[in-house]
């Protein structure tokens, strides 16, 4: 089933069948694969001329469930967002994968784009999304013994209360 929107005909769209698409802002194509379709879609986009995975990050949609998604894509708590860049065609596209909370596992695209190694580690460190087949998935910014994943929405920002006299404060 091709769930492409009616007006999704931007220049030279690669025809990826069976994957929901949506023209995102600024005429950037958006793809919404399921977790099973995701590695294949990435490989296909790479063959279509997107040579570089320029950015990969995760978003925690815990407090913002009502976002716009194409039909047939159920919103989940986490979303992994990959921005691909085509140097030869001078265009970008964005791939957004829904990752459920209770099974936050998604395939690594390290084998297609070696440059996402650090970015996937950052997404794991900050959100706890596990990338399978990543060469060494470990924390990258936080200390190794840190508990929790700081950019999750249910992770408090913490604050240091104003102390006018010397006294025990948190951390």
């Amino acid at each position: 089933m091709d769930a492409r929107s009616a007006d999704g005909s931007s220049i030279g769209d690669p025809q990826v069948s069976g994957i929901a698409t949506q023209p995102a802002l600024n005429a950037v194509e958006g793809y919404f694969p399921t977790r099973e379709q995701y590695p294949d879609l990435i490989n296909q986009l790479k063959n279509d001329g997107f040579e570089m995975a320029v950015d990969l990050c995760a978003v925690d949609y815990l407090n913002h469930p009502g976002r716009e998604l194409p039909e047939g894509i159920a919103p989940e708590r986490f979303e992994v967002v990959v921005n691909l860049l085509s140097l030869s065609q001078r265009r970008r596209c964005r791939v957004r994968v829904q990752v459920p909370e209770n099974d936050s596992v998604v395939a690594s695209i390290f084998s297609a784009f070696a440059g996402v190694e650090a970015m996937e580690r950052e997404a794991y460190d900050m959100f706890g999304v596990v990338f399978t087949d990543h060469p060494s998935l470990s924390r990258i910014l936080m200390p190794e013994d840190w508990e929790g994943h700081p950019l999750r929405k249910d992770y408090g920002i913490g604050r240091v209360p104003v102390q006018f006299k010397e006294g025990p404060g948190p951390r």
């Binding site: 978003v59 407090n63 913002h64 140097l87 070696a114 440059g115 650090a118 060469p135």
Partner: protein
């Protein structure tokens, strides 16, 4: 306080204590028998998947016993690592076999902080990421917010932004020239680079009131108009720096020791650079003419003349030459900005994002309320998500913002070029000499504030 560790622990216990306190666990590099095959291949730089070009992990280091090699730490507080970068090196004598950067020592959670600041305040946060080029950070952020808001920026604001970011590119590259000179033993270059940068910082102070973290570019325009007589100031900056770049040529470019330290060292091919998502001077040094100012023009870069500088060999010297020549190209752009600077508003007149003028606040209650609301609550941004990318001195600086319709970004992610470019370290250092690691770090030009955010 009775639980003070006794100072008379035996050295073996002290060592164990120190290791436990400073260990980064799985983030570190381990001996080969403890490392997985995939990770070993990555650390050896065998990342290329182009047919027939994949590196053979065994082609420089034939099977060695682990007791012939050693793993040492460089950093995190090493004067040549440009901040708190720690690199673990596997050495055989003086040859680097594997390397792995360990980062996070400057992590302050700026993306988390960004979710707690309104769009008005956000500029003060992002400007502190890449502290050598604050204007480009603010520009990337502001352009992302403006795309979400769908507002137009006046022409004069666009040109002011372009001139300021080019001045900033000059100052950033000048600091790079200075620190690179320092790393290679030319302390005089350190002094000259910072001396020239001071000219630009003085102009920033005159324009924005601050020297380093300007918060000058804001959603909707810039914070203030250019000061009276700015043409003369900028003219002097251009003339001085243009002339001085040729003095750098005399001091460094033709200098034998300098060239021998850089030429042919740490070469990288275009395929490798693209596979590792490298951008900026690192990518251009391999001969790929990819500069977002030219290939995906933003601001008014399609109306000015400049050249995209590319290298040929992808070695350290190419990266040096690119940065030196980019200073000259920036001077060219800034000179065109002086000539072509249009008149008009320096910020949009959309009352949604722009506060009323100061004089109105004195006479109008509504203006006062408007001003108060804008700076306490901030403006609401329509629901959506956007990725906006610009060319910072270090490469593609992207800003991904998700908005839930409120006055604060729901998620703000900055694609920091230094963070991604650091991935080139294992590939660039492999097989090189210990002393070349310094030049490799230097020519990657990481800014740790941006790497760790």
């Amino acid at each position: 306080m009775s639980d003070i560790t006794p100072t008379t622990v035996r050295s073996i216990e002290r060592e164990a204590l120190l290791v436990a306190e400073t260990s980064e666990g799985a983030q570190e590099m381990f001996r080969r028998e403890q490392t997985g095959a995939d990770e070993l291949r990555r650390e050896l730089g065998a990342v290329l998947k182009v047919d027939g070009r994949a590196l053979d992990p065994n082609n420089i280091d034939v099977e060695r016993d682990d007791d012939e090699t050693m793993i040492i730490n460089m950093g995190p507080s090493h004067p040549s690592t440009h901040g708190v970068l720690r690199i673990m090196l596997e050495l055989d004598g003086e040859t680097v076999l594997r390397s792995k950067p360990v980062i996070g020592y400057l992590h302050t959670g700026m993306e988390k902080t960004g979710e707690e600041l309104s769009y008005v305040q956000g500029g003060t946060n992002v400007t502190r990421m890449d502290y050598l080029s604050p204007v480009t950070n603010e520009l990337g952020y502001s352009m992302a917010v403006e795309k979400l808001l769908n507002i137009e920026v006046p022409e004069r604001a666009t040109w002011i932004r372009m001139m300021m970011s080019e001045l900033n590119r000059m100052s950033s590259h000048l600091v790079w020239m200075a620190t690179n000179g320092m790393d290679l033993g030319s302390t005089s270059m350190m002094i000259y680079g910072l001396r020239e940068r001071e000219l630009i910082l003085a102009f920033f102070e005159k324009t924005a009131g601050l020297r380093l973290n300007l918060n000058y570019v804001r959603p909707g325009g810039v914070a203030a108009d250019l000061p009276d007589g700015w043409q003369d100031d900028v003219e002097v900056i251009c003339d001085t720096i243009w002339a001085r770049t040729f003095e750098y040529d005399q001091l460094l470019t033709g200098q034998t020791i300098f060239r021998q330290r850089l030429e042919g060292v740490a070469a990288i091919t275009a395929e490798e650079a693209i596979a590792l998502s490298l951008t900026g001077p690192l990518l251009r040094s391999t001969g790929v003419p990819w500069d977002l100012r030219r290939t995906m023009p933003y601001l008014a870069y399609d109306q000015v003349e400049f050249d995209v500088i590319t290298g040929t060999y992808g070695d350290n010297f190419d990266r040096y030459a690119i940065r030196l020549n980019e200073i000259r190209e920036s001077v060219r752009i800034v000179r065109q900005c002086i000539e072509m600077m249009p008149a008009g508003d320096y910020r949009t007149q959309d009352p949604k994002v722009t506060p009323p003028p100061r004089a109105r606040i004195d006479e109008s209650m509504e203006a006062l309320i408007h001003h108060f609301k804008l700076f306490t609550e901030g403006f609401h941004v329509p629901v959506g998500e956007v990725y906006s990318a610009i060319e910072s001195p270090r490469g593609e600086l992207g800003c991904y913002i998700v908005s839930d319709g409120g006055p604060k970004p729901y998620r703000i992610h900055v694609r920091a070029p230094s963070f991604v470019n650091l991935q080139a370290i294992p590939l660039l250092m492999r097989g090189g000499m210990m002393s070349d690691t310094i030049t490799v770090i230097s020519t990657i030009d990481p800014v740790m504030g941006e790497v760790d955010r």
